[in-house]
Symmetry: C2
Subunit: 461 residues, 2 copies
């Protein structure tokens, strides 16, 4: 009897799951290793640097202190590390079947964050944020969500810590992904399509455009407004801010550990970027080695051509939300009232970018790249049929880049080690796959006109 | 600073993932340990015992030999064991947060089969069946699916082994779970709602009832008809048959190994039953210890009150499908043209039961129990909010029983060790949760009239 391998099927790759004892004990804070300091965050009215007290209506003090911390390592509380054991360490997988399909000499690895109960990396920070809110007696947390990955994660955290969760979900995603709403509700949280009539911010947007599809910026405005109007409530953000990126560094620390165990080191580290947290979570611990030990690694931040923050936006001060309630942040931005088209990677439809990622794009350590959505779904479908897991639309951008890097290595005959963040599964995004498979998924590229119109709204600082 | 534990949150339980080296090397065949032989399978026309040759149009010979094998252990081919590493060994988790919510002295463990790429245990046998079909040159496999867990799993296997997959999906599930169809298509397989106009069986059913919701029995008839009419095609079944249950014993063998590592042994082993494969997969390796070493363990097979095969059906010869194309099997059955109501646990809507499980229910080794669907969703929601994972509706039946066993242990103050099979996640079943949370999920209990009417169709053997 012949073996199937001989007939056609390549073996699966290694799936390394480190023992629980190797869940990191600290978060890694790249602020300690910045080549140049990040410009300060400014008060939206006075344009003066904000202090911790300015942020107190929004966040518990422990998170504010993390936001401004200069310490290289921030200890992970034991209770949280214990909770991480629900799904961490996550698998580090060599995608041998994908490599074979591409016939590439490259080695492709992915860190599989989709195995968390919420289906993405977002739970790493959701539990951390809920934990610190709980410690300070917060009863309710308001937040925004795009595709729903973040809203799902914070809803689980709310259920675990007995905190009410109030989610504003970008309307176009609410409509595209009805079952993400169901997930959030199954965990016991409330969810409102945004823009809504519940807030001044929402009503103002709807007055201008009753058919508004919503944006992450608008949903942030609504969630912030709800938080500041209730003394027992705080606000939570799923990306962008320093403390959020900090929490995600468990991903990259495990990946550094795992790659060392395997005996390879990545030549290229890849992640998709919306606000930047999954990318930073994987990349920063490797970037640490570049900054402190001179390791040669390329870092690719992949964004949609329809929301090309890093590839076409200026590095400038802008609001984090749509209506100007948040502090001003120095970052790459398309302008805070930019309305991205309703592409399926709802988590990437954000006008700005994490200031820490922006700073490293500015210094050239991080290389941005933009893709349209069809080639990304093509790569995602290939991934599903070779590696078995259906990727989130956001994740498909990272996969496209990994595939292109592997094909480039094939061209040059080079053994390139590629590592990307498999940030989430696409179980609640199947309508997008339906559209792609039916040939109906449109590409969108931002026009120069739209870009200039949007940039005209940047605040003068 | 107080700790969150002191405030409110219990620690998560242990999540044991065995190393890859402990993926079982053999499947365990309980036929070798049967106290009394299982009655033979009979030809549908002649009522004589069928031989391997009779089954050759349906299955590759390697699977037929497994179906009739008397050997206690059947080696798992290395190529398959290698593929199992994509997600196996699966986690064995102590549900400490659920225990705390129930305030029970019981220890509740679950074997988490939902971590497979297809989202359930079904991939264990899907890859095995595709492997043996590939070895014998089969180009296409037809099959049925209820909730879609099986169709998804076989579609992945088809993508991995380059075999065309043709899925007949029970119409009510096709309508309730549109994104399961999308999943099957994303993996490259074809899916047809059943009953369909594609087959004589489907056309006959539709002629009698144009609005037929379909059933697993009808979908099996259609898939069998497609397979036998194409010499390059074979048929594949996701449950019921000996070889399918055999492949699933990787679950229970890992659980026996894991429980020993933890240092506990289950007093109760629980699984939901439709055709019986996830239950058997977990239970049989433990039942082996009961049969050969006198271990005292209760085995609970949980079914819906709306499809009460084990609790209200007779032990009799019946067809495996709706129109009488399959051999006659001695099993608990509600009659082959029983049309179950459209409950959300589509995988449990089957009129019959695996003959091996039926035999052990007959001998009293396995204890059946039936639940209506609302209390199961109640337990599933509690599970989601404590353990973080949203269960498949099928799995919710096992969870309900585990919860009830834990509450009974609380009554008596007894430390009971409970182990259940977390057979799959509910990511494609959110419409059911929507209905439950909105208060609109109906209970269904089979009436005595319906039962008698259905049993009147049993063949005279």
């Amino acid at each position: 009897m012949s073996t199937v391998n001989a007939v056609q099927s390549p073996a699966v790759g290694n799936r390394l799951i480190l023992p629980e004892s190797r869940i990191p004990t600290n978060w890694y804070n790249i602020v300690a290793d910045l080549p140049v300091p990040v410009p300060p965050v400014l008060h939206p009215a006075t344009h003066q640097p904000v202090g911790p007290a300015d942020l107190a209506p929004l966040f518990p003090m422990a998170l504010i202190m993390q936001e401004v911390s200069p310490e290289r390592y921030v200890p992970i509380p034991e209770e949280l590390r214990d909770m991480y054991r629900l799904w961490r360490p996550t698998p580090l997988v060599r995608a041998v079947r994908l490599e074979n399909a591409l016939d590439t000499p490259a080695h492709i690895y992915y860190k599989n964050e989709s195995v968390s109960p919420s289906g993405s990396h977002k739970l790493n920070t959701a539990l951390a944020q809920a934990y610190y809110n709980k410690l300070e007696g917060v009863k309710k947390i308001s937040t925004e969500t795009g595709a729903g990955q973040w809203g799902s994660a914070l809803s689980i955290a709310g259920a675990f810590f007995d905190i009410d969760i109030d989610v504003f979900m970008v309307k176009v995603s609410y409509q595209q992904k009805p079952y993400r709403r169901s997930v959030i509700q199954a965990y016991g949280a409330a969810v409102t399509p945004s823009p809504s009539e519940r807030t001044n911010a929402g009503r103002a947007i709807l007055a201008k455009d009753p058919d508004s599809r919503g944006s992450l910026g608008i949903a942030i405005s609504e969630a912030v407004e709800v938080a500041v109007s209730d003394p027992d409530a705080r606000y939570s953000l799923g990306s962008v801010l320093n403390h959020v990126l900090l929490h995600q560094t468990v991903i990259g620390q495990e990946a550094v550990d795992g790659m060392a165990e395997i005996g390879e080191y990545p030549d290229v580290v890849i992640g998709c970027v919306g606000g930047g947290s999954n990318f930073a979570g994987l990349a920063f611990p490797f970037l640490h080695r570049t900054l402190t030990e001179g390791q040669q690694t390329r870092f690719l931040a992949i964004e949609p051509s329809s929301c090309p923050t890093l590839t076409r936006g200026p590095y400038a001060y802008d609001f984090g939300d749509a209506v100007g309630m948040t502090p001003l942040i120095k970052m790459y931005t398309l302008g805070h009232d930019f309305m991205p088209p309703g592409i399926h990677a709802g988590g990437l439809r954000y006008h700005g970018m994490a200031p820490l990622i922006s700073a490293f794009v500015k210094t050239g350590h991080i290389e941005p790249r933009a893709y349209e959505q069809r080639p990304c779904f093509e790569a995602a479908t290939l991934f599903a049929r070779t590696e078995g897991i259906i990727p989130a639309p956001e994740t498909s951008y990272a996969i496209r880049a990994a595939v292109d890097e592997a094909l480039a290595a094939k061209e040059t005959g080079e053994k390139r080690v590629i590592l990307f963040n498999f940030s989430g599964h696409g179980h609640f995004d199947m309508a997008a796959y339906d559209a792609y498979l039916a040939g109906g998924l449109e590409n969108h590229k931002m026009s120069e006109d739209d870009l200039q119109k949007s940039l005209a709204t940047l605040p003068q600082v």
